[in-house]
């Protein structure tokens, strides 16, 4: 799954630590999502989108390989 988290976070002038505090997760979790190592739950995705004042589907999008692989 692709995401524009890093871009949207920069647009909002927010550090990983600040975003992590606002959505109540660790900074490592935000970093893992940004580098595509971890796919967040629906609840966390909505929280991140809300804090960054955007929509979930603007932040996260499916890739070709997402249809035939499971993390």
């Amino acid at each position: 799954m692709k995401n524009l988290l890093k871009l949207e976070r920069a647009r909002n002038n927010m550090t990983q630590a600040e975003l992590a505090t606002k959505v109540n997760v660790s900074r490592q979790t935000i970093n893992s999502i940004e580098i595509g190592r971890y796919v967040p739950s629906t609840l966390l995705a909505f929280k991140i989108a809300f804090v960054l004042d955007t929509k979930v589907d603007a932040l996260f999008s499916l890739e070709e390989g997402d249809w035939d692989s499971v993390n």
Partner: protein, 138 residues
């Protein structure tokens, strides 16, 4: 939408877990010194309690990524622990023949569970460590 609490006890219970482990190791050596017995069941029983408190208590920063790591660690640890238990039984406890009319010997449940919990805990901290390495290299 209210998030459910995954782990029942707080991170402070890790200290209780460590105390259980130390108690187990101390009891093991006391029994060996006084009776010259290698009581593996005694130490592994207390090890199980200690490791359970450490693994299943919440972390300082407890989030879904941490829960994912614990789940991943357990999915590897359970089959790996099962394989190790079988190998110990096979190589060290001289298994009875299927038609011998004897019970099949096996290590105790405490020992088997200790093996699983040790692997799970080691793997969990390794995954957490990997995250920190990735963060530094990003």
């Amino acid at each position: 939408m209210k998030e459910q609490r995954t782990f029942w006890y707080s991170s402070r219970f890790k200290i209780i877990g460590i105390l259980f482990i130390l108690w187990g190791i101390y009891s093991f050596f006391v029994k060996y010194r006084e009776h010259h017995l290698w009581d593996i069941n005694l130490v592994s029983g207390l090890l199980c309690w200690g490791l359970s408190f450490i693994l299943f208590s919440s972390e300082k920063t407890d989030d879904e990524r941490t829960h994912h790591h614990k789940f991943k660690a357990l999915t590897w640890a359970v089959p790996a622990g099962l394989i190790i238990t079988h190998l110990i039984n096979y190589f060290f406890l001289s298994p009875a023949e299927p038609d011998s009319g004897k019970y099949t010997p096996s290590v105790s449940a405490y020992v088997a569970l200790s093996i699983v919990l040790i692997i799970a805990l080691g793997l969990f901290y390794y995954l957490q460590y990997q995250d920190r390495i990735d963060e530094k290299s990003a």
